[in-house]
């Protein structure tokens, strides 16, 4: 039982960053831009948060700078894709390589260190007095990072936004049938830009959680594929908000089990493989062929004059 609680506790903590990025990936993919760049956006979010927190001494300002960095990079990528018809796969990879280089370079310029930043102020855990006293649930829901609590309202908000608002409907149309949206007199690019702002904010939070939530420093390439897993979760959930979130939870649990087992086994490399292998199996085994990806995803759209 104790082991179960500790794994659940870890799963909740580890799901949080992937879940934020996954929600961002869903919104972005729905609008017709592929989410390959989420890895880079998440990494710049983590870096921006660490720098902001280090510079100001306040973790909340760090969160803000992380979000701003995420939005900035997300907008650069979308600007290339929307206004300059860039190849989305290549530009996505380009962003990831660029951010990997820039963060490692700035790490040395700002802190004079290779690979790791100095310790920065981290967000302190919140403890909820009422929930804390409930036996099992209180053990893992009673004391968590504020960003972990924030995830639940964000999830509901994104779900409502996509499924229950006119904005969401137009966003989906931008990804499915951009011509229809255009013929209604609405600009496809506006919706795609708005989607990339949302994706930037969410990936920024997800990244910030890594550097100033879970840890209190920035580590070179600290996202280690979580952005790609978010894309996988999005595919797993068939591009629906709820489904993708379940995918994120699955990867969070896989990672929690991985960390738990690492201390007990000699050949840790195989244990470290678990999240990646789970991603592979889930994508190739559980997802049916030809699931409904947004039809115009990955295609640039030239606005009709």
């Amino acid at each position: 039982m104790e082991m179960f609680i500790s794994i659940m506790n870890a799963a909740f903590r580890l799901t949080t960053p992937i879940a934020y990025v996954t929600l961002g990936a869903v919104v972005l993919e729905k609008s017709g831009i592929n989410a390959l760049a989420m890895e880079g956006i998440m990494l710049i979010g983590a870096f921006g948060a660490a720098v902001g927190s280090w510079g100001s001494g306040s973790a909340w300002i760090g969160l803000l700078t992380g979000i701003l960095c995420g939005v900035a990079v997300s907008m650069i990528r979308s600007w290339l894709c929307i206004s300059h018809q860039a190849n989305q796969t290549v530009s996505g990879v380009g962003i990831n390589i660029l951010v990997g280089g820039v963060t490692a370079m700035l790490l040395k310029i700002i802190w004079g260190m290779d690979g790791k930043s100095e310790t920065v102020t981290a967000l302190k855990d919140w403890s909820l007095p009422l929930i804390k006293n409930i036996p099992v649930i209180g053990d893992f829901l009673g004391k968590q990072n504020p960003l972990a609590y924030l995830l639940i309202p964000v999830l509901i908000m994104i779900w409502i936004l996509i499924n229950r608002t006119p904005f969401g409907l137009r966003l989906i149309t931008a990804g499915e049938h951009p011509d229809v949206l255009s013929s209604l007199g609405l600009k496809v690019s506006t919706y795609r830009y708005l989607a990339s702002v949302i994706a930037g904010v969410l990936a920024g939070i997800g990244g910030a959680y890594l550097s100033i939530g879970q840890l209190s420093f920035f580590n070179q390439d600290m996202t280690s594929g979580r952005g790609y897993m978010a894309l996988a979760a999005c595919v797993f959930g068939r591009w629906t908000v709820g489904g993708a979130f379940c995918g994120a939870v699955l990867f969070g649990v896989a990672e929690a089990i991985q960390i738990r087992l690492q201390t007990q086994v000699q050949y840790t490399q195989f244990i470290q493989m678990i999240p990646y292998v789970v991603t592979l199996i889930v994508l190739s085994g559980l997802v049916k062929k030809n699931v409904a990806a947004p039809k115009a995803s990955g295609k640039s759209y030239r606005e009709q004059q």
């Binding site: 796969t89 292998v277 190739s284 997802v287 699931v291």
Partner: protein
């Protein structure tokens, strides 16, 4: 009679992009508190200033050439092979294992055997994503990336436990027997004949794309899957074949590093050559021009090492430049527009002065 033009018009986009990237790079250098002139001259001197630098450049070019070819082949077919890093490691593992466990073979047999094993290792790791894509409709980009992480961890296990050199504190295998190492190009240098193998491979690939039916079918599939299928091309078969060729190239990258450069398999020997390969391929485009872009990035990497000492920049500045170049080439309209605007602007200034 008009003379027939022999040289085709050269695509200017790569040159625009390099120039723009250099300008953006200069801004970054200024922002970091250095002088662009000092840094750029340091880069050039680092790569071309000495015999050592030149050797370092060739050393860096070799894996970049193979990885660049690998990505370039996959892009011809409309796929983007993002699993090069994992394929490189699996190729390295297969060739190192063949080198270490098959002792006592004559050199003329052992070297080709190791190279073949390396090619097979890379091909296997490239085959998996495309096979899953065709059989199960799996997102090939995500599977390839996940296989990268799995390959890196698997090599980590192999060099730490079953194949590890117990007398060394570094995670690496024993030295390969001399029958399984490639001859060196220069005395007292790590540069091996691997780079020549790479150039030959590039020429062969260029021939395949220009002169054979297979090459034509690959290009056709890359231009549009539906059209290719309608004209009778077995699209699935072509995609598998392309990815296997691509995987063979990446496998060779690892093989040549193991058999030529280090003579052993070392944990984490690749600082991301697989991802550098994307920049090389995107800039180079076709197999023969990939040779030149590999040389360019090899020179940048060799020069970039000089930045690690005495400046607050590091070799990661080169990675940043690579990212910028990829983005500029991904959006060809962007760099052309910027150049057009710049030209107009200069024309205006000239008018005002004149």
């Amino acid at each position: 009679m008009k003379k027939r033009k022999l040289n085709k018009k050269i695509n200017p986009a790569p040159f625009y992009s390099i120039a723009l990237a250099a300008i953006i790079g200069a801004v970054i250098i200024l922002a970091s508190g250095n002088s662009p002139l000092t840094i750029y001259s340091k880069l050039i001197v680092g790569a071309f200033g000495s015999g050592n630098g030149l050797q370092q450049m060739l050393l860096q070019t070799t894996p970049l050439l193979f990885c660049g070819l690998s990505v370039a082949v996959s892009m011809k077919c409309g796929l983007l092979n993002l699993g090069v890093e994992g394929q490189l490691y699996m190729g390295a593992l297969a060739s190192a294992a063949t080198g270490i466990y098959f002792q006592g073979l004559p050199q003329w047999l052992h070297i080709p055997l190791c190279i073949l094993a390396g090619m097979a290792g890379g091909a296997l790791w490239a085959f998996l994503p495309v096979w899953l894509k065709i059989k199960r409709g799996t997102h090939e980009v995500v599977t390839a990336l996940m296989l990268n992480y799995i390959a890196v961890l698997f090599i980590e296990f192999m060099v730490n436990y079953p194949m590890g050199d117990r007398n060394s504190s570094v995670a690496q295998t024993d030295v390969l027997p001399s029958s399984a190492t490639l001859p060196k190009l220069f005395i007292k240098s790590q540069v091996s004949v691997g780079i020549i193998i790479g150039i030959v491979l590039a020429v062969i690939l260029a021939f395949v794309f220009k002169q054979t039916i297979l090459g034509f079918q690959i290009t056709l599939t890359g231009a549009g899957i539906k059209a290719a299928a309608a004209s009778g091309v077995n699209v699935n078969r072509i995609m598998i074949v392309t990815m296997i060729i691509s995987g063979v190239c990446s496998g060779l990258a690892g093989t040549v590093e193991v058999m030529g450069t280090y003579n052993r398999l070392i944990q984490g020997f690749s600082p991301g050559y697989g991802f550098d390969g994307i920049a090389v391929a995107v800039l180079g485009g076709s197999p023969v021009t990939v040779i030149f872009s590999a040389l360019l990035f090899g020179a940048l990497r060799a020069g970039g090492m000089a930045l690690n000492f005495g400046t607050n920049l590091s070799v990661k500045f080169i990675t940043t430049l690579q990212g910028i170049i990829i983005l500029l080439i991904a959006a060809p309209e962007l760099s052309e527009n910027i150049w057009r605007k710049l030209r107009k602007y200069f024309a205006k200034i000239k008018k005002r002065e004149g």
